[in-house]
């Protein structure tokens, strides 16, 4: 059974600073997803990481995947208030032939001016 752990679960940071959210997973999951969720809203897809060493960047966010370490990171560069949200990583659970995603508990990110 795939398990996904994120840390930290809560992060308060100032605008302009850099920080990294970590996502560890327990068994083979060579697809790793990052989602953003605003309060009361649904999930917005940020990145899909498919292979070892994959790195993707969009604006101030950069995600990477190390399948050997079973680790994905989401790096925030020069944070701005608009990035305040909850960020989830999710691995692919293929048990029983389904493509159900296994999510971490989420990182609640607050960026203060």
């Amino acid at each position: 059974e795939l398990k996904v752990e994120q840390n930290p679960l809560f992060l308060s940071m100032q605008e302009g600073k850099n920080y990294t959210i970590y996502c560890n997973y327990s068994t083979t999951s060579d697809r790793l997803y990052w989602y953003r969720q605003d309060p009361g809203k649904s999930l917005e897809s940020l990145f899909v990481l498919l292979s070892n060493g994959a790195v993707k960047q969009e604006g101030r966010l950069m995600a990477s995947l190390d399948t050997k370490a079973r680790l994905s990171t989401l790096h925030i560069t020069a944070a701005v208030h608009d990035l305040s949200a909850t960020y989830f990583c999710a691995g692919l659970y293929s048990g029983g032939g389904a493509d159900g995603l296994t999510f971490g508990k989420g990182t609640h990110l607050i960026i203060q001016p």
């Binding site: 997803y33 649904s42 999930l43 971490g104």
Partner: protein, 114 residues
Amino acid sequence: DAGVTQSPTHLIKTRGQQVTLRCSPISGHKSVSWYQQVLGQGPQFIFQYYEKEERGRGNFPDRFSARQFPNYSSELNVNALLLGDSALYLCASSLAGRGVNEQFFGPGTRLTVL
């Protein structure tokens, strides 16, 4: 292009009742997955349907059931509601049942069980 749509947006039920939630996938998508998100937690996988057949299910009791229709829309049914069933229910659609298929999430249905 219309994204994933879900109805209703909000729903209030009492314990023991039954509820049906509906989802329409993105046009051209043949797979629908359902997730339950309890407040403060990440979503948990309930079911996946592809081409009208159940492809898999997560660790949920038999009170939870679903089906997919010929137009690929889907319904999630929950019987004998418990207080713990209060959650945001998310539907996600993807192009096909397996492989590298990104899942796109709908706005969700907020279910409150009193």
